[in-house]
Each structure stands twice: as C-alpha cells, then as structure tokens.
Amino acid sequence: MTARVRAADVAVGTELPERVYTVTRADLVRYAGASGDFNPIHWSDRVATSVGLPGVIAHGMLTMGLAGRAVSDWAGDPAALAEYQVRFGRPVVVPDDDTGAEVTVRGRVAALLDEGRVRVDLTVTSGGEKVLSLARAVVRLG
C-alpha cells in the first residue's frame, strides 16, 4: 500500500513523465456509462451546439480522471492521491471521427509536505490550450 516513488527521491521541480491520452466519442460513451453522467452535451452535437458549445465536449471529470491517472501511474499507487483538485477552464472538444482529441498531462513536484507527502502541480492541455487550471494533487509517497 505504498507508492513506488519515494519522497527521498524527489525534490521541488522533479517532473513527472509527460502522458498523452486520446479521447474519442467511444471513450465519452464509456465514461458516461461508468460514471452515470449522461448529460447530452457529451454525446449529442445537436444539444451541445444548441447551448453554444462548438460540438460534443468531454466530461470535465474524464479529463480530471485521466490527469489523476498520470499521477497514480507515476506514484505507482492509486491510493497515494490523498487530495486532488482542479478548475475546469476550457472544454475538450471531441470530434466525431476515429482520431478524437488529445489530452496532454505534465506535472511537477511543487512542494514537499510533511509525512512523505508532496504537492504535484499539473498542466493539462488539449490542442495546445490549457483545459484545467489550478490542478494539483497531494500525493503520499513511500
């Protein structure tokens, strides 16, 4: 139940490996079913455009989940994320094609806390634009 990365091995500025995730319409359907969020802006272009969006957008919580996965995979333990928060800045528009949208997650250790915990600040972009802001996690390292 301990992370693979040890607190002693990181310093302020330590970077997490960059991760790039692809999000397709099929991924949105899968996430809708798994999360119970069936808001039609995540599957209907008709509804999405009627409320002023450019088209179907990813669930913000899917983007948050993917960025959380990047942190869990780095730490080697999903139980290590003690706190995790984001602000949803800009939507991830997901085209109805086989390519989908790309979500890129970068992270760096921003602070060393007590009891082997560190704060990781995340930069999450899609199409070169920041989609999450104030995205940060408190991670319990081994």
Binding site: M1, R30, G60, G65, P78, A79
Partner: protein
C-alpha cells in the same frame, strides 16, 4: 439572479446506501484506460494491502454527483440548471473507496457567490460508510452562466 446567502451551511439528508461493486470499479477504471491491477484483481489489491479492489481517485463522483443534484433540485436554490457548467472539483480522501463499501453521501452547501453575472454554488458531499467511517469529501463548484 443571485443565490440566497442564507443557504450557506444548509445540509441535506443522507443518501440511500450505495454499495460499491467490483464491476463498477473495473468499469470506471476501464473508462479512464487504467489497467492497474489494484482496480481489477482482488488478489493484487490484497497483495498491495487493501481488503479488496480499490477505486480510482475520482470514482466518488459516481455517487456524489447525484447527491449534489439533490441540492440543485432544492426549490430554494434558484439555479438555472440548463446554464450550469462544472467549475471546480476537489476530493479529499481519508482512504480509497473499495469493493464491498456501503457508502452514504451527505451534501452541504459550502458557499454561494455571484461573480460577473454568474451564480456560483459550492457543495461539499461527505462520503462515509453506513457505520460512520469517513471515506472522502467531494467538493463541487457549479457555475450558472448569466443570461446576458
């Protein structure tokens, strides 16, 4: 129109019990593309020190979203849901959610604000086992965009 500041601190009755299943955890992990065996394989989860498979850190939204919906449905909460977007989300975990958990979600309005014609509603949902063990707190900020 602005939300009533008197709503801050209002609590709602605890939800019905949400029983966490292994399949629900596996499906949520798959939806995030995660193949970490602690989400999928009870033996791997036990080897890592957990009683059963554990959920990804954002899984709580599956039960806290509907709990926060109870707040939005409160007739005193004057929020135009057709104009609502998810502004912020925060989780504080006391321990991972795991298969077999019987969870209860209790929402409380933490803050209401009006910024540039938008109404902001912050709801904290406390998640505990039915025996009262705290599991996590999920705080959601919803933004109702002004009609202007």
């Amino acid at each position: 129109m602005a939300l009533d500041a008197g709503l801050v601190g209002r609590s709602y009755p605890p939800s019905a019990v949400y029983e966490v299943g292994r399949v629900a955890i596996a499906q949520f992990a798959a939806a995030l593309g995660s193949t970490d065996p602690v989400h999928l394989d009870p033996d791997a989860a036990r080897a890592a020190g957990h009683p059963d498979v554990i959920a990804p850190p954002t899984f709580a939204i599956a039960l806290t979203l509907s709990a926060a919906g109870v707040v939005v449905a409160d007739p005193d909460v004057d929020l135009d849901y057709s104009r609502v977007v998810h502004g912020e989300q925060r989780f504080v975990h006391h321990r991972p959610i795991r298969a077999g958990d019987r969870l209860i979600a209790t929402p409380t309005i933490e803050a209401v604000r009006s910024v540039a014609g938008n109404d902001l509603l912050t709801t904290r949902v406390d998640v505990a086992t039915e025996d009262g063990e705290p599991v996590c707190a999920a705080t959601s900020m919803l933004v109702a965009r002004g009609a202007a």
